[in-house]
Each structure stands twice: as structure tokens, then as C-alpha cells.
């Protein structure tokens, strides 16, 4: 299991970029594919927000937006940002990169499954992108793909695009099922000697819990997707009321997955934020175990809330009462988690580095998303807000912090480890403030237009006298200008990223003076990760321990002057030291 042995299998030259089994290379493949898809997702929103601000005018780089291309753009934006940006970056890229390094092993438990996972994912991304160019264009039935609109080419007028969208989503699920197997198995079986369950860094916990959650929730949707595919392609009637089917069935299957999916991406984001906060505030996480428990509780409750997306969808209204209650219940562990994060700052020594700014901004912005969700979870007020821009603004205040703010926190924090160089702090802060301010200027106005009754997925409001008002149009224009500013500020990020790859200050193994195992490896870590496989002596966040010279005490450092005995072998409920070395033989 030595890294020399593993390295012998590493393809050379360009092939290593497409055929590697190294978890770090696969992480980069996911990261860069996710970033490329974010550019496509960003372009789609640029086009349709331009149409909303200036209806009927030709959009630079696109042209006039027709009603059908508007629907396709909205659908693609939602699908891409969730399935091809948030999931690959947060779970696959960070999961692949961090898990073996943070639990102290040389690679994933099943490296070839890992490679297959990315290849299937890449295929799904290509398929989705290709659907823009088929006759009829990309699918335009919203990312929720409600039948009968999604089942029949007569209704959606994009018969080829609809099927390609569905197959692409299904392939993406396969990719993440394969990836999840690795995350769970590696964390459970390949931990360094001495690393007990509660010595595992929070981000690893979160990715593992998210993977379990994904696996448990995606099954019904895959079944639903197969039925939808049959309805589309061979003319079955699972969702067709004329033939005994029921369109609402899909909604249940979709949201049974769709709501847990929110937490599938939220938990890894919360994990990244926890790591960054601990390091840059020099603080042990407040109530580490509580974070794990609340994550598990949130995951379990998330299986019982799905129909809050369907309050007015034609379900029995008494059932809506029940789901209203479960939905407000889930606010309890999530609120607890946020409180714990805030409490972590107490007594810290906070450095406002770029990654820390992103992590703190996550909390600041996610609070908006959290509290506005209450308006929608409460059935009585959801009657009004359902399918308005209030909903759009609400979930962007959750998804943008998740996918982008936490993503940037993670990238800026682990960039020195990934590439061996520091990113430029000044450019990082320009990018941070530009992005955060423009983000708020996009979505705060949309809360107002939503409250005023703007309903979603409308490409032109001029037919609605109550909505075709100057102050509403000004808010729509303001949101669009803010979006243009936000897109412009991303150039700063890409420039900083590219320049720092070669020109950044050399980072060294542990530039942030952090405690977790990945900082023991060289920056960037070679194939096989560690020169000598590490042993773990303590929990992951020992910052500010009294009576020590340094304010941090790494997990891998044997007991120092304070005289604490190494816990080796004392771990009653963790893996035995020798057994924990069970990294796979290949």
C-alpha cells in the first residue's frame, strides 16, 4: 500500500489528466468541470436577466430571446447550478480532495470506481450541454420537470432536449452514487491509526452524511425518472391522467429527493465553513459533537418535509398542514447549527483573511435564506408566496452561499495545499467584496418584486397590468445590473487563480498553521499523499490550548511538553491502530 506502489500505476503525460485514479487529480477534474459549467450557468442567467430588464431587446452575445429559449435558459440555469456546479464542486471536488488527506490515507478505497464516477459525470455534463444544439433546443420545462409538460413533445415542444436533460440528470445521479460509495467507505475504513469517530474533521463528516442522505433519497427519483423516460420515449402513461396515470406522482418522487438534496449540498458547505472558521479564528469548534448530531437530525427530518413544495399543487390540504409542521421542525436543528457556528467565534483570534471573509459571509447571508424559508414553510403564507420571486430570492440566499460563498471559502483556503502557492490577498478581497455586495443587490430587490406578486418563469410582464409597473421594472433592472457587476467581478477571481498558480508566494506545508492531517502533507501532496503515514493523537481543532508554546496542536503531533499521553490504543470505539491502516491493496 506504499505510495511508490500506487505511483507505478499512474499514467504519464497528458493521459494522467483523463485516466488518473489519484483522488486529487479526480478532485481537480470535478472542480474544473464544475467551474466550466458555472460559466455556462452564469451565461444563461445573464441572458434571461437581460431579457427581464429590457424585454424584447437583443441581448449582446445572444440575440433576441424567444419565449421558448427563455424557458430553456431558466431550466438550464437551475439544473446546471445544482447538479453540475454545486454537487461536483462541494461534494465531489472537496470530498475527493480532502477525505483521503484529512483522514490520513493514500487514496480512496476504490480508486477505479472513483475514476468511473468522474467519467460518467463528465459524460452527463457533455450530454446536457449538447442538448442546447439539438432541433427544438434544450428542455424548457423548469428544473423540476413536472409532467405532463415534461412527458410530451406536443406540450413542451422540445422532445429531444427533454429526453437528453432527463438522461443527463440520471447519469449525474449514477456518478454521485459511485462517488458516495468511496467517500463513505474511505472514511469508515481507511482512517489513520488513532483517529476515532469524533476525531474526524467536520467537513469529512458532512460529506459522508450528505452522501448517505443522497443515496437514501435518490432511489425514488431514479424510479420516477425511468417512468418519465418511458412516458417520453415509448408512450407509457405513468403520469398521464387520460391513461390512469397521475402527474402529481412525479412531484412526490421528485421532492422526496429534491428536499434532502438541499441538505446534500448544504452540509458539505457547512463543513467547509467550519474548517475555515476554526483555522482562521484559532478556535476549537464550539460543541463539535452537537454539530454532528444536528447534521444527522437535519438529514433524517429532511425526509419528512418534501410536500411543502406542493402545498397548492392539488394535494389534500389536510396533508399540507402536516408538512407545514415538519418543515418548521427542521428549522430547529438548522438554527442550532448556525448558533453553534456563531458561538465558535466567541473568544477567537479572528484574522479576516479571504477564506475567513467568505466563511463569515456564508453565515451572514445564509441567515437571510434561513429566515425567509419560514414564510414558505408556513402553509398559510405560502399560498401567496408560492412560485413568486420571493421563493427565487429565498433559495438563492441558501444556494448561492452554499455553492459559491462556501465554494470560494474552500478554494481560497485549500488553494495553497492544492497548488503549493498562496493566492493574492488583495485581489481575493476585491473579488470578495465585489461578489458579496452585488449578490445582495441582485436578490434583495427580488424579495420585493416577489412580495408585489411577480410570478416566476415569465419572460415578459407587459401582459400583466398589476406587474407592468415602473417601480417593479426598475427593481428588475437593478437586479440585472447587479448581476452584470457580479459576473464582472468573477474575472478578478479567475485572474487571481491563474496568476497565483505560477506566481503566488510559495506556501509550504502548513501556511495557515492548521491542525488537520492534510497540512502534514507537502503542498501540493504527491501521489500517495504522505511520506510516512500519519498517526492521530487528538481531535481536529486543538487551537489555543493553554500552556503550550504554539496556539495550535496538530492532530498528527505526538504529545508535547504538556505531557498528554498519546491516545494510541486507548480508543475503545474507534478502529484499532493496526486495523485502521486498512487502506486497500491494489
Amino acid at each position: 500500500m506504499s505510495h511508490e506502489h500506487a505511483a507505478a500505476h499512474e499514467p504519464s503525460g497528458l493521459l494522467k489528466y483523463v485516466w488518473s485514479t489519484d483522488h486529487k487529480m479526480i478532485a481537480f477534474q470535478y472542480l474544473f468541470t464544475g467551474m466550466a459549467m458555472a460559466l455556462i450557468g452564469g451565461f444563461t442567467v445573464y441572458v434571461f436577466r437581460m431579457q427581464l430588464a429590457f424585454p424584447g431587446e437583443a441581448v449582446p452575445l445572444f440575440g433576441r430571446v424567444s419565449a421558448s429559449s427563455y424557458n430553456a435558459l431558466v431550466t438550464s440555469h437551475g439544473s446546471i447550478m445544482i447538479f453540475w456546479v454545486a454537487m461536483p464542486v462541494l461534494i465531489a471536488a472537496f470530498g475527493n480532495y480532502l477525505i483521503p488527506l484529512m483522514v490520513g490515507c493514500d487514496d480512496m478505497a476504490f480508486p477505479k470506481v472513483n475514476r468511473l464516477s468522474f467519467q460518467i459525470f463528465f459524460l452527463s455534463a457533455v450530454l446536457l450541454t449538447a442538448s442546447f444544439f439539438v432541433p427544438g433546443g434544450a428542455f424548457g420545462g423548469a428544473w423540476t420537470a413536472y409532467p405532463p409538460l415534461s412527458t410530451s413533445g406536443v406540450y413542451n415542444q422540445t422532445p429531444i432536449g427533454a429526453t437528453m436533460w432527463l438522461v443527463a440528470v440520471a447519469l449525474e445521479f449514477v456518478a454521485f452514487l459511485l462517488g458516495g460509495i468511496n467517500f463513505i467507505t474511505t472514511t469508515m475504513n481507511s482512517r489513520a491509526p488513532g483517529m476515532r469517530m469524533f476525531d474526524i474533521p467536520i467537513v469529512v463528516w458532512m460529506i459522508v452524511i450528505a452522501s448517505v442522505l443522497f443515496m437514501a433519497s435518490v432511489g425514488p427519483l431514479v424510479a420516477g425518472a425511468v417512468m418519465l423516460l418511458f412516458d417520453q420515449v415509448i408512450g407509457t402513461g405513468f403520469y398521464d391522467p387520460a391513461r390512469g396515470g397521475d402527474p402529481v406522482l412525479w412531484q412526490h418522487l421528485f421532492w422526496f429527493f429534491g428536499h434532502p438534496e438541499v441538505y446534500v449540498v448544504l452540509l458539505p458547505a457547512m463543513g467547509i465553513v467550519a474548517e475555515v472558521m476554526a483555522v482562521h479564528a484559532r478556535k476549537r469548534l464550539f460543541a463539535y459533537r452537537t454539530i454532528v448530531y444536528t447534521a444527522v437530525a437535519t438529514s433524517i427530518i429532511s425526509f419528512f418535509v418534501w410536500a411543502h413544495h406542493q402545498f397548492v399543487a392539488g394535494i389534500d390540504p389536510r396533508m399540507a398542514s402536516l408538512f407545514s409542521v415538519t418543515t418548521l421542525i427542521i428549522s430547529i436543528p438548522v438554527a442550532e447549527m448556525v448558533f453553534v457556528y456563531i458561538a465558535t467565534l466567541y473568544g477567537g483570534a479572528i484574522s479576516l483573511t479571504t477564506p475567513m471573509l467568505w466563511a463569515l459571509a456564508f453565515l451572514v447571508e445564509f441567515l437571510w435564506g434561513g429566515v425567509t424559508g419560514i414564510f414558505l414553510g408556513a402553509a398559510g403564507s405560502d399560498i401567496y408566496f408560492h412560485d413568486t420571486y420571493f421563493v427565487t430570492a429565498h433559495f438563492h440566499y441558501t444556494f448561492f452561499p452554499i455553492a459559491f460563498i462556501a465554494g470560494f471559502a474552500g478554494i481560497t483556503h485549500w488553494f495553497p495545499k492544492m497548488f503549493g502557492r498562496m493566492m493574492d490577498e488583495r485581489l481575493g478581497k476585491i473579488h470578495f467584496w465585489g461578489t458579496i455586495i452585488s449578490f445582495n443587490l441582485i436578490f434583495l430587490p427580488l424579495f420585493i418584486t416577489g412580495a408585489a406578486g411577480d410570478h416566476r418563469r415569465i419572460f415578459d410582464y407587459s401582459g400583466f397590468p398589476d406587474l407592468n409597473l415602473p417601480y417593479l421594472q426598475n427593481l428588475r433592472i437593478m437586479a440585472t445590473y447587479a448581476l452584470l457587476a457580479m459576473i464582472a467581478f468573477q474575472v478578478v477571481f479567475f485572474y487571481n487563480f491563474a496568476r497565483s498558480l505560477r506566481g503566488g508566494a510559495v506556501a509550504g506545508a502548513n501556511p495557515w498553521k492548521a491542525t488537520t492531517l492534510e497540512w502534514l502533507a507537502a503542498s501540493p501532496p504527491p501521489h500517495g499523499n504522505f511520506p510516512v503515514m500519519p498517526t492521530v493523537y487528538r481531535g481536529p481543532y486543538e487551537y489555543g490550548v493553554p500552556d503550550r508554546a504554539d496556539d495550535f496542536w496538530p492532530q498528527y503531533e505526538p504529545a508535547g511538553p504538556a505531557g498528554q499521553e498519546p491516545r494510541l490504543g486507548a480508543a475503545g470505539h474507534g478502529p484499532a491502530p493496526s486495523g485502521a491502516m486498512a487502506a486497500p491493496e491494489r
Binding site: N71, A281, Y288, F311, G314, S321, L363, S381, A451, D460
Partner: protein, 238 residues
């Protein structure tokens, strides 16, 4: 709060708005408090030369209460919100009052057809009045609506009434409203329904009793004529 933007034109509009206001006050206070504490901690515990971070585990009860007390408070406020939300929900969606009249709302790609009961006050009789994209109702009269869809999902949304209900093909979904404010208001389709989704606006015309009676006299045609216009299609009253 919502009434700043959209008038309250039905009996339950004010209830929905009060609920939204209640939630706004509760979560608004929590939001401000949480943000204030967060920003205070960030400012107070900035890194200073020679000052080490405190070693706080958060595993001791005396520390944990800083999180658990707010946590219990969240629970209490959740109960308040649930009770208020379900009361409104029950009024609007669960317990329908006895209707004085029924209208049929039929959605399709991409138009609304409204079937009014006509002068005799009953549906499916010869004097029914069919209209396209314009619904005429009388102020202070309790209506039951029967919602249909001919093809895909649509949603019958009347923001001024704080009313929204999806239409599902193959089903009749019933609901109710009682307009209180005379005037013309938007009807939206609030569920994506294909490329014409943005092109199916309709209007609801809430008329005073006298104006509505006049409208009925004008359009409530003789049974023989009604049969003709019915056969000729929908839209006789445009």
C-alpha cells in the same frame, strides 16, 4: 405589509397578510439579533498582538446554554408560527364556506376559459356565460371555483385575493373566494406550462352588485342563442 404592493380584495387577504406580518416580526427580530451577535463577535474577537484565543470546547453545560436557550426559544416561536399558519391555511383551503355561486375555471395552453352560471345562478344550464381570459364576479358574494386543466399543469393565481391553486389535468380541484373590493385585478398562471406561460394573463373583474346584474343582463343571452354561442366556441362575451 403585502398590501403596500397589492390591494386586499378578498375576505382572507387580510388574514394572509397578518400572518406574513407576524412571521416578519418574529423572524425579523431573530435575524437582527443573530446578525448583531455575529458582527459583534467578529469585531470583538479580532486578532490582536499577543492575545491568544480562548480554549472553549462548548461541551460543558454552562457554555452550552448559550446555544440551548436560544434553541428552546426557537422551538416556542415555531409553535406560534405553526398555529397561526395553520389557522389561515384552514380558512383558505380546508373549510370551505357554503357558496352562493359556482364558477368553472378551465386552463389550457395558453388561455383561461371561465364558465359563469348566468342569470339562473346554476352551472351547466343553457344560460351559462363563457368567457376567455376575463372573469366577472360580484363583490361580497361567496364563490366556489372548480378548477380544470385540459393539458398540462397550470396554476390559478389571483394575487389580490392571496389565492393560488394549481390545476391538474384529469382532476377537478375546488376552492373558494369572496371578493370584497370592486376593481380589476390580474389573474396569473403561476406554474410553468410551456412556451406560452408568460402569455396567459387574465383579469378578474370584481363588480358591485348592480354592475354585475347589468353585466349578466347584457350577456345572459336567451337559451336558444346560448346554445349557438356555446357551439361556436368559447369567448362569446369578449
Amino acid at each position: 405589509m403585502i398590501s403596500w404592493f397589492v390591494p386586499q380584495a378578498s375576505t382572507f387577504a387580510a388574514d394572509v397578510d397578518s400572518l406574513i406580518f407576524l412571521i416578519l416580526v418574529i423572524v425579523g427580530a431573530w435575524f437582527l439579533l443573530a446578525e448583531a451577535v455575529l458582527f459583534w463577535l467578529i469585531l470583538r474577537f479580532r486578532k490582536r498582538e499577543g492575545v491568544r484565543s480562548k480554549y472553549v470546547t462548548g461541551d460543558v453545560k454552562s457554555e452550552k446554554r448559550w446555544v440551548s436557550y436560544p434553541h428552546y426559544a426557537v422551538l416556542v416561536f415555531d409553535v406560534v408560527i405553526v398555529v397561526a399558519a395553520l389557522r389561515v391555511w384552514n380558512d383558505v383551503k380546508v373549510t370551505d364556506p357554503v357558496p352562493e355561486e359556482t364558477v368553472r375555471v378551465v386552463s389550457q395552453q395558453w388561455a383561461w376559459t371561465f364558465v359563469h352560471a348566468g342569470p339562473d345562478g346554476r352551472l351547466d344550464t343553457a344560460d351559462d356565460i363563457k368567457t376567455v381570459d376575463d372573469l366577472y364576479v360580484q363583490q361580497n358574494r361567496t364563490y366556489r371555483f372548480e378548477l380544470h386543466s385540459k393539458d398540462v399543469l397550470h396554476s390559478f393565481s389571483v394575487p389580490a385575493f392571496r389565492l393560488k391553486q394549481d390545476a391538474v389535468p384529469g382532476r377537478m380541484i375546488a376552492g373558494w373566494f369572496k371578493p370584497t373590493l370592486a376593481g380589476d385585478f390580474d389573474i396569473q398562471c403561476a406554474e410553468i406550462c410551456g412556451i406560452g406561460h408568460g402569455l396567459m394573463p387574465a383579469r378578474i373583474h370584481v363588480q358591485t352588485a348592480t354592475a354585475h346584474q347589468e353585466w349578466l343582463r347584457e350577456h345572459g343571452v336567451m337559451p336558444a342563442l346560448a346554445a349557438n354561442t356555446g357551439a361556436a366556441g368559447q369567448g362569446g362575451a369578449r
